[in-house]
Amino acid sequence: MKTRNALLALMASTCLAGAAAAQDTTITIESWRNDDLALWQEKIIPAFEAANPGIKVKFTPSAPAEYNAVLNSKLDAGSAGDLITCRPFDASLALYEAGHLVDLSDLAAMANFSDVAKSAWQTDDGSATFCVPMASVIHGFIYNKDAFAELGLEVPETEDEFFAVLDAIKEDGTYIPMAMGTNDQWEAATMGYNNIGPNYWKGEEGRLALIKGEQKLTDEAWVAPYATLARWGAYLGDGYEAQTYPDSQNLFTLGRAAIYPAGSWEITGFNALAAFEMGAFKPPVKNAGDTCYISDHTDIAIGLNAASPNMEAAKTFLEWVGSEEFANIYANALPGFFSLSNFDVPMEDPLAQEFVSWRSECESTIRSTYQILSRGTPNLENETWGASVAAIKGTATPEELGQKLQEGLASWYAPQQ
């Protein structure tokens, strides 16, 4: 009798515990930012869960290079998480059109973002926004301040000064002038071509003209950056052809290279690794006093899986992502990922502050290949990777590269035909 009572009590208590646990809704986030795992678990999720009891959040990132493939398979199989971290433009647009993402236009928090911020996650006519913008990344160059002081170098403003600085570092021989490799290909396009390019094609003006078909990739403004990249080869380290992205990061943070063509996303990692002081300068302009253009690329947003069983909880989370609290936590915990919201977010990190200060001095644009132009086959973004590498290695002339890219684009994109 006694044992039976004890058993009953035990069963009753398990049932109660089960019921209590069932009240908590767990929402899962798909992401490619596996570098940010600690940040989400230690800062963002606890802040949200404290404000919203009853909702538990799980952050489950996959490797960046595999994210798109993994996510598509998961969505097709119905096993994807409730919230989907959105790549900009077509990758997410395709998910929306396939019915995997929910239209979030009527989310109250959307009012906190400008049209430019939302442009990367809207339908072509702008009628529906399907992801809440989180952050942008800014391109430029990070340099080793100690090395510059040691060699008595000034931060370059113009292109001539830039190459003079590189020559001086090369002459001295203590440092590799610039840390970049061509093995992984994307750095050459992202941190090379799309970093310096906006100064040539005048940012949005050129980018939109290319989309409308008013400019061609064979035009001087689009070919000239390749000619400049061709000069970079001489200043990269020995064997840069087989140098990978992590190699370049390590070369710079170990203090063996003086300049690193960068995206602002590097800031957190570099702060943790580099034992010297770092500074940043924006892509050099042709002549002193020219208007400068920077690539302030809408990079990351978050959307709602249409098949999510926890819609309400997920929407609560998305509203919070659009709030000032989130903008503050995210931008300061991840210096280098700049908030796209209209809130004025103070930055504590000096390097990040340096990057974000260019927003007031220069015209912002986004990477030229991302909107619409990478929809067909051949894929303009992937082709640009190869072209930028070929330019740096000198295996093709800038004119040949422009010609090849133009032919590829014209083969499927009507406004360019």
Partner: protein, 302 residues
């Protein structure tokens, strides 16, 4: 009426069911998928249109022939380097007076059981111009000038990867040939010795003809393995198979097309068409071997 032997059915069932579910069904489903395309979010039957695009469209066909050519080069290196070395190693190992034969055998075979990711990553580090030991080792013997960033140069990258793959898998032909050599009876070799055939001559005139069927099997295994290869290239060079697609083989081309890459969205139907082409190439290769070569190989009763 013959009695049905139920135990045979029962014992075969697990293997047949599992193999059908994970191999045969996906294979035919992939071939079926190649005949469809996606128009406005809906899957429509297009017959052989995907194959027409693959072989007829200049952009697609250039990528395809580039991948196929690279695949043949990859295979050629294996046939010319891996298999002769494997045979030579087996011949040396089977020499009765070689000491520490078991140690060499294990050491040479161990890379075969390593994961591609480990092999790719380890060799990338070894050959790295920045941290690698290859440049400093060459420097130590005064040959630094011979070093080049091999994996990053269009003209060397594929050959380098093929040789890495040879390093990894040379143990397999070695083991197969070694087993074949051990099964040759002593009496035949002794009879040869009486007739004056010793040393190298014994290998060329007696052992080699006896192990020819094994060499045939190894060749076809190499062929199938190489034309299905993907892992090592993906682990070492990524899905874009750089530099400038010089290491792109059918496996990476198929992966990139099927699952997409960076801004390029996946296209399961074109991807399946490439997988179908790969299947056809391997099928033809295996058939040529089975009907054209294996039936003509002379076999000896030992």
């Amino acid at each position: 009426m013959p009695r049905i032997r139920w135990h045979i059915v029962v014992f075969l069932a697990p293997a047949v069911l599992v193999y059908t579910a994970v191999m045969i069904f996906p294979l035919f489903n992939t071939l079926r998928l190649a005949l469809y395309s996606e128009v406005d979010q809906a899957r429509v039957f297009v017959g052989l249109q995907n194959f027409r695009t693959l072989f007829g469209d200049p952009i697609w066909s250039e990528a395809f022939w580039n991948a196929l050519g690279n695949n043949f080069w990859f295979f050629l290196i294996h046939m010319l380097v891996q298999n002769p070395i494997g045979i030579a190693l087996a011949a040396i190992l089977s020499h009765p007076r070689l000491r520490f034969a078991a140690l060499y055998r294990s050491a040479i075979f161990i890379p075969t059981i390593l994961s591609f990711v480990i092999v790719g990553f380890a060799w990338k580090l070894i050959l790295s111009p920045i941290w690698g030991i290859a440049p400093s080792m060459l420097d130590a013997v005064g040959l630094k000038s011979l070093f080049a960033p091999w994996l990053g140069k269009e003209e060397y990258a594929l050959t380098t990867l093929a040789l890495i793959s040879v390093w990894q898998f040379v143990g397999i032909p070695m083991m197969l040939i070694y087993a074949a050599l051990l099964s040759i009876p002593e009496e035949i070799l002794e009879a040869g010795e009486i007739d004056g055939i010793t040393g190298m001559a014994a290998f060329w005139k007696i052992k080699l003809p006896l192990i020819l069927p094994s060499i045939g099997i190894i060749s076809i295994l190499t062929f199938v393995g190489n034309f299905n290869a993907f892992d090592l290239i993906y682990a070492a060079q990524g899905a874009l198979a750089g530099p400038d697609f010089s290491t792109d083989i059918l496996g990476t081309f198929m992966y990139r097309t099927f699952f997409g890459f960076q801004l390029q969205l996946g296209d399961p139907h074109m991807g399946s068409a490439i997988a179908g082409a790969m299947f056809a190439i391997i099928l033809v290769g295996v058939c040529i071997y089975l009907f054209g070569i294996q039936t003509r190989l002379r076999r000896y009763q030992l």
